[in-house]
Structures are given as structure tokens and as C-alpha cells.
Amino acid sequence: MRKLLLLLLLAIFVFPVLFLFLKSITFSWRYPDVLPTAFSMRAWEALASEPQLLPAVGMTLFIGAVVVVLNLLLGIPAALALSWVDFRGKVAVETIFFLPILVPVLAIAMGLHITMIRLGIADHPAGVILIHLLPTLPYTIRVLRGGFDRLDPAWMQLGETLGAGVFRRIATIAVPIMAPSLRSAAVLTFVISLSQYVLTAIIGGGRVTTLPLLYYPFFNSADQAVIAAFSVLFAVLPLLFLFVWETVSSAAGRLLRP
């Protein structure tokens, strides 16, 4: 049963990426050929010859990482308050936190663009990072709130009565219970930030070149091999992020646990 499930998961999630990879290294693979007839690295060469590619990947990773950090810094206190504290107008606050997802972000982006020009952060990574908070923070707060709901404040009090200090209580009670929520929030944030095109284009003005800015225009061409090569690269970045996250958090876990 478990094997079957695993196979199904592989078929749904891994096979399409492999197919894309195959598509990117074939030459003239068309219907009705079932198997590719010729191979060519042309699409990857086209990618490699794009002078803006490496800086764009670097910029994408940098923006994604900063957006994740800001999301956690802003999201943890907000989610904690929503989960643990009862206050007047809580529903209203919750709705406001969720609003950026309900209102089309593009409508807000135009107005924010003017403000950012006046502040001098349009066409700059700082502006792009701020605008990426808009479609990510609501999800982070939601996900983390679910995590805090599972973490009963009584457990923290229990730790306190047993004589554990604040730092130790956080490290040994809160973080292990929150770990899955933190990971979900971080990965979700990273993937959303990674796939922003219009917001980055409007606020970044093309001076902040992220991967989608190079990649999306190719959807306007019939050249599927290049699109496939870009897509493979695109699919690798979240995996890379997950790998780094896991490495860092397990190292941190070893350090924190006494």
C-alpha cells in the first residue's frame, strides 16, 4: 500500500519534471513520435549564453531569502498574538491580515509604485522585497497561526515550573513543535516570491532582474525546448532552498538541544 502511494506520488510530482528535462535536451521531438529521435543541448546552450542568467538566479535567491526572513520576523509575532491572545476586534485584525490575498494585488501595486518612487525604492531590490511581502505574509500568518494553535501555552508554563529558562523553553518546546509550520511557511513564501513576475516587473522596472523576468517572455515563443530548460532550472530552486533549510535547521537543532 505504501509502495503504491509512493509510486503514485512519483508519477504525479517527479515524472513531469523528468519529462521537462527530456524535452529540454531533445531536438525536434514532435507528435506522433513516442520517443525522442534526436538529442541536442541547444536549449541549455541558449540558457547558458544568456548573460543575465547567473545574476538573475543570484538576485532571485537573495530576494527570496530576505522575503522569507522578513516573513518570519513579521509573521511569528502576528500569528502568536492571533493564536494565544484574546483581544477586542480580533476577527477584524485577522481579516485585514488576509486582505492582500482577497484584493487583486495588481490594483494595489500601481498605487504602491507611486509611493515607492517618492520614497526612492522603486527599481531597487528593497522595493521588490517589500512588494513580495504582499502576496506572502498572509499565508505565513495563516500557517504559523495553525502551528501556535497546536502549541498549548500550558506546556511552556510547565517548562517554567520545571525551572527551564526562556531560551531553553523556546529551544526545547516551542521550536520542535513549530518546526513543521515554520518549514511550510518558509517554503511557501520562497516559492511565491520565486514566481512573481508582474509585481517584480512593475516595482523593479527590469533593473531588478529575477529569473521570471527572463523566463516568462519565452512563453511567447514556440520554442518549447528553451521553455522546458528554464522550467527545470525553476523547479530546482525550491529544492535547493528546502535542502539549505533542512541543513541549517538540523544543525541548529543539534546546537540547541542540550
Binding site: 507528435y31 520576523l73 518612487i117 526612492g120 522603486a122 512593475i202 527590469g206 517572455p217 515563443s221
Partner: protein, 398 residues
């Protein structure tokens, strides 16, 4: 309060000063070309242009950028962005009074040019300042008129392409509009054209307008009375054609790339579009089959011009002028013909070229697909609007 402490830091990061705006068009006119070139040296020039074709990108990155760097010491950067997006950005920048824009050159034409011109988003009249404009660019109607819009020197032609049709392994491809319509009827499901919201699909309907009009003179200007009288005939032709199209004309490809992919997969037997040389690079890339045959209709093929312009808030107008002037030079225009990279028509006056340059042109272009006498003028942009407004109702759901 801790969660707010990072925001000001991020804001500060971006608070780099705005430099003063560039020289105005009036002031520039006082300068000689030598002074402009001297002023341009060492500047950075950015150009907004659609980035979805590796051939076009390679031409800009491998030919233009190194050339202006070497000749004028200008650092050229291509910014991939579509016209509607950069126009909406420019609109916001105009509203915010931003004087130091993100780009110095725009790739633009037709409807987008009109929008930009009407909303005061362009730099001004600069065509007369360019030496190559005077020396080498053909003295053609498209210099003054972009789809019925007066150019007023606010943009200069960069490339000229013809509308052409690609057929798959057809020994006797249709060569006139009449034959094409008959061919479509004989081969049900083999032909279609993209939705007219798309420029390529719209271009096909513009050919039908020319076909109904017979004489290009009749539709050389936007004529409401003519539309009133003959618009019905245009829709009649398309309605008669519809049942023999792909999926009986109940649906149309959303975009040219969709039709190109259907053509590549053999789902339809024909595709179409501006740039008569576009099939070659697609064949070389293995997208289109070897037996692809390109035909320009001898009953007339619309020729379309695209232009470069400058936004109102360019920070380096001198350097932008120097780069634009280089784009119009015979060397750059001839290299643009090379099908290994871009492969599209030039806007030069052949008379002004040297013998050697003319041979180079011939070597790249090879056999002419659309002879000059078959070229039809592009219709007024208001015809484009008329097609977009009525096609769905008249043809798709009659």
C-alpha cells in the same frame, strides 16, 4: 515593536539619491553630433524590449552591446519587458514626477506608440538629430506614419517585416488570398488563424480587408463610410471560411505561439505571421519541420514596421541617441538580417549602400519571399480596433 525595526533599514537601503534628469530635446538640438557623441561616452543605456526570442536577444547581446561599447564606450543593457507593462510603468512614473527613468530606449509601434504619444510619455522629436536617419534610412511612408499615427520624429523605424504564410509539405501552396480561401475549403481543418486580439490574427483579417477593398488606395486612410458599406463583406468572407477551419472555426488559437506549436505538431497544416524570414530559425531549432514552405501572397502582403523611441524621463538622452543611431547604421541593420540570430528585414535605402554591403544583404536574404511590388501598406490602427470590437460577434458567434 521589534517587528518594525527592520523596515526602516530596508527602506534606507533603497534611499539612494536621484540624479538630475537628462538634457531636454530643445537643448540637444543646439549640440552638434560630435558633442553628443562626446557627451555619451561612458554612460549606461537601458532598453525596454520584449525578451522572448533567443535570436533577437542574441542579436542585442552579441552584436549591438559589444559594438556600442567598443565604438562609443557605452554600456548597453537590454531589459526584457513587454510594451503594455513598460507603458503602465512610465504612466506611473509620469504621475509621480520621476525624472530619472529606468530605461532610455523603447521598442514600440502602432497602438502602443499612440498611447505613449497621447499620454506624453515620449522624449520628443529626435529623428532629425540622427545622422544615419538622413544618410541611410529609406525615404518611405513608414518613416512619417505608423499605422495612421503621425510619427512627428518621436520614433524611428528599426525593422520592416512582411506578413507571410507557412505551409507544411505542400507542393502547390496557395499564392493569392483567393487561392488560400479555396485551399482552406479543400483541406478542412488544415487552416486557422489566431484570435484577433492577437496582432497576428488581426493581421490576417486586415489582409481580408485589403482583399475586399481590392485597391489599397481605398483603405489607405481610415474611412468610416467604407467600413459601413463593406464591413459586412469582410465578415462574410470570414464566416464562409469558418466551417473549414480547425475545429470548424468554433474556437481559434489564443496566440501565434499556440498556432506555431499546433503547426509543429502537425495538428494544422499552415501557420502565418509577420516576418517572412521567421520560419528559418524555427526550422534550425527543430521546432518547425524541414519541409516548411513560406509563401508571401502575391495578391498582397501587409508590411509592418517596428520602431524605437525614447521615454520622457531618460537620464541619458545623448547616449540613447548614439545607440539608436547605431541601430540604424548599415552594419547593424545588415547583421540583423542574419537568420542565425534575428533574421528580419532592414529599413535601409539600398541606394546608399556600398557594393560590398549590397552583396552582404543579398547573401543573408537570399531569395526574396515578398517582392517589393506585392507589399501592402499597413492599415490605420483604427481598423485594428474595429476588427477587435466586432470579430467575436460577427464571426465566432454569428
Amino acid at each position: 515593536m521589534k517587528r518594525w525595526s527592520l523596515l526602516p533599514a530596508v527602506l534606507l537601503l533603497g534611499a539612494c539619491g536621484n540624479s538630475e534628469s537628462g538634457t531636454s530635446a530643445e537643448a540637444l538640438e543646439e549640440l552638434s553630433w560630435e558633442e553628443i557623441t562626446a557627451e555619451a561616452e561612458g554612460s549606461e543605456v537601458r532598453m525596454y524590449m520584449w525578451g522572448g526570442d533567443e535570436g533577437v536577444n542574441a542579436y542585442m547581446d552579441d552584436v549591438i552591446a559589444p559594438a556600442v561599447e567598443e565604438e562609443y564606450g557605452i554600456d548597453f543593457e537590454r531589459i526584457p519587458m513587454d510594451a503594455p507593462e513598460f507603458l503602465s510603468r512610465l504612466m506611473t512614473e509620469r504621475e509621480a514626477g520621476s525624472t530619472d527613468g529606468s530605461a532610455d530606449i523603447l521598442w514600440i509601434n502602432g497602438e502602443n506608440f499612440r498611447n505613449a504619444k497621447e499620454n506624453d510619455l515620449l522624449y520628443g522629436s529626435f529623428a532629425d538629430m540622427l545622422p544615419n536617419m538622413e544618410e541611410h534610412v529609406a525615404d518611405a511612408p513608414f518613416v512619417e506614419n505608423d499605422m495612421g499615427i503621425d510619427v512627428d520624429g518621436m520614433e524611428v523605424p528599426w525593422g520592416n517585416v512582411q506578413y507571410a504564410f507557412q505551409f507544411r509539405g505542400e507542393d502547390n501552396p496557395p499564392e493569392t488570398m483567393e487561392e488560400l480561401l479555396a485551399w482552406a475549403e479543400e483541406n478542412p481543418g488544415a487552416f486557422t488563424y489566431p484570435d484577433v486580439q492577437n496582432d497576428t490574427g488581426n493581421g490576417f483579417v486586415r489582409h481580408v480587408i485589403h482583399y475586399v477593398a481590392g485597391d489599397p488606395e481605398t483603405v489607405s486612410e481610415f474611412d468610416e463610410a467604407w467600413i459601413e458599406e463593406n464591413g459586412g463583406d469582410v465578415w462574410d468572407v470570414l464566416r464562409t471560411l469558418a466551417p473549414s477551419l480547425w475545429r470548424e472555426g468554433e474556437t481559434y488559437p489564443n496566440s501565434l505561439e499556440q498556432q506555431d506549436q499546433m503547426f509543429a505538431d502537425g495538428e494544422v497544416q499552415a501557420t502565418l505571421g509577420f516576418n517572412e524570414y521567421r520560419a528559418q530559425s524555427l526550422i534550425d531549432q527543430g521546432v518547425f519541420p524541414e519541409e516548411t514552405e513560406t509563401v508571401g501572397l502575391s495578391s498582397g502582403s501587409i508590411s509592418s514596421t517596428h520602431y524605437v523611441s525614447m521615454p520622457f524621463n531618460t537620464g541619458n538622452p545623448e547616449a540613447a541617441l548614439v545607440v539608436i543611431n547605431h541601430l540604424l547604421s548599415p552594419e547593424a541593420q545588415i547583421e540583423k538580417l542574419n537568420p542565425e540570430r534575428w533574421g528580419e528585414g532592414h529599413i535601409l535605402d539600398p541606394e546608399t549602400l556600398s557594393e560590398e554591403q549590397r552583396e552582404q544583404v543579398e547573401a543573408y536574404v537570399g531569395e526574396e519571399i515578398v517582392p517589393a511590388e506585392d507589399a501592402l501598406p499597413e492599415l490605420d490602427a483604427r481598423y485594428v480596433d474595429w476588427i477587435q470590437e466586432n470579430w467575436e460577434e460577427e464571426v465566432v458567434q454569428p
